[in-house]
Amino acid sequence: DAGVTQSPTHLIKTRGQQVTLRCSPKSGHDTVSWYQQALGQGPQFIFQYYEEEERQRGNFPDRFSGHQFPNYSSELNVNALLLGDSALYLCASSLVPVMNTEAFFGQGTRLTVV
């Protein structure tokens, strides 16, 4: 059983560019959450998708957007990249957005903005 898979594992972008990160949830999961983890920090919640809609959002600007597809996979898009967007981006999946279902994390995408 494949767990949460994220692609790519690493990428380098230039300031001002746009980037798309992808996440495939664990088999049977229908809810996807995205986190940003800057170096030396804990993960910070960006947003959560369920039933192809953004259900919850953390304190991130509109440059961060997402999408969930009918097969439950998800994309995170970041526009107008800043140096400060350099971080590890983690995806977590769970079965329905309720407290008693465990969220499983992918290994992350390391984004470097130069």
Binding site: V4, T31, V32, S33, G40, Q41, G42, P43, Q44, F45, Q48, Q56, G58, L90, A92, S93, S94, V96, P97, V98, M99, N100, T101, E102, A103, F105, G106, Q107, G108
Partner: protein, 116 residues
């Protein structure tokens, strides 16, 4: 607002020694509490969680944690550390009351090093 504080940035223990990692939380209701571990180059793995009931919670890999409401703490312990326990440990609370485990507020983490 909910928050998590992990006072220790880096801890070094000898292999076979006991371990306690500290976590203090701020939460406006009966808290749900989590401990995660992140090994280098890996995602986060859930070690244990507290929802209600017994305040001493057992987790995977021989870890346990004790919820102390009076101290707003949820410290992680292990009686005997193994070299493979070297990793970063994160304490977390839900980002919204009664929400989901997909929306969590994490502490800044404690990096554990293990001496042979």
């Amino acid at each position: 607002a909910q928050s998590v504080t992990q006072p220790d940035i880096h801890i070094t223990v000898s292999e076979g020694a006991s371990l306690e990692l500290r976590c203090n939380y701020s939460y406006g209701a009966t808290p749900y509490l989590f401990w995660y571990v992140q090994s280098p180059g890996q995602g986060l793995q859930l070690l244990l969680k507290y929802f209600s009931g017994d305040t001493l919670v057992q987790g995977i890999k021989g870890f346990e944690a004790e919820f102390k409401r009076s101290q707003s703490s949820f410290n992680l312990r292990k009686p005997s550390v193994h070299w493979s326990d070297a990793a970063e440990y994160f304490c977390a609370v839900p980002g919204d009351y009664g929400g989901s485990q997909g929306n969590l507020i994490f502490g800044k983490g404690t990096k554990l090093s293990v001496k042979p």
